[in-house]
């Protein structure tokens, strides 16, 4: 925030950074080779739906756009819409586990539709889920405002996370993806849809 913004008590809405999301497909290959985690094929975009009709219209358009290719190979399953207990909306896109490129394209379609509509500042994060052979859960979370990734690995049913695994993933992918260096921003997303 600039000096004038501080002086006048203004906050400029933060625009999302979208480009680094495309690093995901190659990171997924690296993650499977080095740590044995495979993509589940599910990914989600989380955003804060503003009140008012303009946003509702755009959300409807996005859903229609994403479901248009469902009949074609690689088109994926219909998109699920859920609202979590914190009031954020999640669009979950489900693909086959080897369709990482198509999944990222879907996620990006949501982003760009929202940004084009002027709702870029509403984007919170995107989440792509992975599993290993022991069925351990891992997800890579992309923070739109920072343009960075961080790992989130929930443990069991309670609010515990596998910090060792998360740091291991950061070690494995640190060179491929832009990782969030500030660990205080690795906020947990318990019970996120598509996890």
């Amino acid at each position: 925030m600039g000096f004038l913004d501080t002086l006048f008590g203004r906050t400029k809405p933060v625009q999302p950074k979208l480009d680094d999301l495309f690093g995901l497909p190659s990171a997924a290959i690296q993650l499977e080779a080095a740590a044995g985690f495979k993509p589940t094929g599910s990914g989600s975009v989380s955003f804060r739906a503003p009140e008012g009709k303009p946003f509702a219209d755009i959300q409807k358009e996005v859903l229609e756009l994403l479901d248009m290719d469902n009949d074609e190979p690689g088109g994926g399953l219909p998109v699920e819409v859920t609202k979590d207990s914190y009031g954020y909306t999640w669009l979950v896109s489900n693909h086959m586990s080897d369709e990482m490129d198509a999944l990222v394209t879907d996620l990006h379609a949501v982003n760009s539709a929202l940004v084009d509509g002027g709702f870029g500042p509403q984007l919170l994060c995107t989440l792509v889920a992975f599993r290993d052979e022991n069925n351990r859960r891992l997800s890579l979370v992309y923070l739109y405002k920072r343009g960075t990734f961080y790992p989130f690995a929930p443990l069991g049913g309670g609010n515990n996370r596998d910090n060792a695994l998360e740091l291991q993933v950061k070690g494995v992918l640190g060179d491929d993806l832009k990782f969030e260096q500030d660990l205080t921003r690795w906020f947990p997303v318990w019970g996120a849809p598509g996890l």
Binding site: G9, R10, G52, Y86, G87, G117, G120, L124, C125, K145
Partner: protein, 327 residues
């Protein structure tokens, strides 16, 4: 190219805030010029008093700026809580900070039963966001309303309100100290100086000027504080994109404020400037125009705040998504 945006800056608020700060600066300059004038005329025998006041005033402002988080936490009897102790609260703050791209302040809970919240600290790395138990457990706020209140407080942090208000209060602190020092030196040193006609005149003059400056800057600071509240309301509502929740939270909390026994309220008064809703209501003029209670209060009236938020509500409902900055 500037990104497409749906937010128009509130120019009216910016203009009013600029005018207030300009007046504060003007009073400051006039005060300094007056003091220098008096000193030159009287050959500087009151210089020590002024120097002491500046050092004391500046020192106390500096301390309150650097320790504002600790002072406020201690005054509110609040404890910093970990994400394990208050997962819900941390979850809301986490998400709001990620949405606003700001670093997360520490989160504290105060045992007060009065539903309220405050944020303090000189910058976002050293800030703390505190909510009362009353707000979390004893009020009928929904999660969205709580989020609206937290977004308002986070906006205070983002706007660096503690710093801005400390700098703005500096003059008032020094002027207030000068009044006291001049009064005491008149009381105890008056006889000694009576042989020097100019010096005897000097002290009352400084005192009079300080009283006037103190009164004017006090009113301006309160005015500035009310504008900062409106700015935080606005930024908070734009962050959550849910002004309606903030409106209902304000209504509920303000209603709750009136139901709490007076003793609690008075004890919370020193922290008022940082609170979400003022704990103490000044009784006074209900008539038209500017009443005393409006002039002195740190927070704008509920009606003013709701009026502004309703404007944002209407803006969000409008289809016009054309970027205003590009036209």
């Amino acid at each position: 190219m500037a990104a497409r945006t749906r937010y128009a800056p509130d120019r009216g608020l910016t203009v009013r805030m600029t005018a207030t700060m300009f007046l504060l600066g003007l009073v400051f300059v006039a005060f300094v010029a007056l003091i220098i004038g008096i000193m030159t005329a009287a050959h500087a025998s009151g210089a020590s008093i002024i120097l002491v006041a500046v050092v004391f005033g500046g020192g106390s402002a500096f301390i309150s700026l650097f320790f504002s988080d600790k002072i406020a936490l201690a005054a509110a009897g609040a404890q910093v809580v970990t994400p394990q102790q208050a997962p819900e609260l941390h979850g809301i703050v986490d998400r709001l900070c990620a949405l606003a791209d700001m670093s997360k302040p520490r989160v504290a809970i105060s045992p007060a039963r009065m539903p309220n919240a405050f944020a303090t600290g000189r910058n976002s790395e050293h800030s703390v966001l505190c909510v009362t138990e009353g707000l979390l457990y004893h009020s009928d706020l929904t999660q969205e309303e709580l989020e609206g209140i937290l977004a308002h407080e986070l906006s205070h942090v983002a706007h660096k309100d503690v710093q801005v208000m400390t700098y703005a209060s500096l003059l008032a602190i020094v002027a207030g100290l000068l009044v006291r020092f001049a009064f005491y030196s008149e009381l105890f040193g008056g006889a000694r100086r009576s042989d020097n006609g100019q010096a005897a005149l000097l002290i009352p003059l400084i005192m009079l000027a300080s009283v006037v400056v103190y009164a004017i800057s006090f009113l301006l600071i309160r005015l500035l504080s009310r504008y900062r509240e409106l700015a935080a309301d606005r930024s908070g509502a734009l962050l959550t994109q849910n002004p309606s929740a903030l409106i209902s939270a304000l209504t509920k909390v303000s209603r709750g404020m009136n139901q709490i026994p007076t003793q609690d309220l008075r004890a919370a008064e020193p922290l008022n400037a940082f609170y979400f809703a003022p704990a103490m209501k000044l009784s006074g003029g209900r008539g038209r125009g500017v009443s005393l209670s409006t002039l002195f209060s740190t927070h704008p009236s509920l009606d003013k705040r709701i009026e502004q938020l309703s404007k944002i509500q209407r803006e969000l409902g409008q289809p016009g998504a054309e970027p205003r900055g590009l036209r």
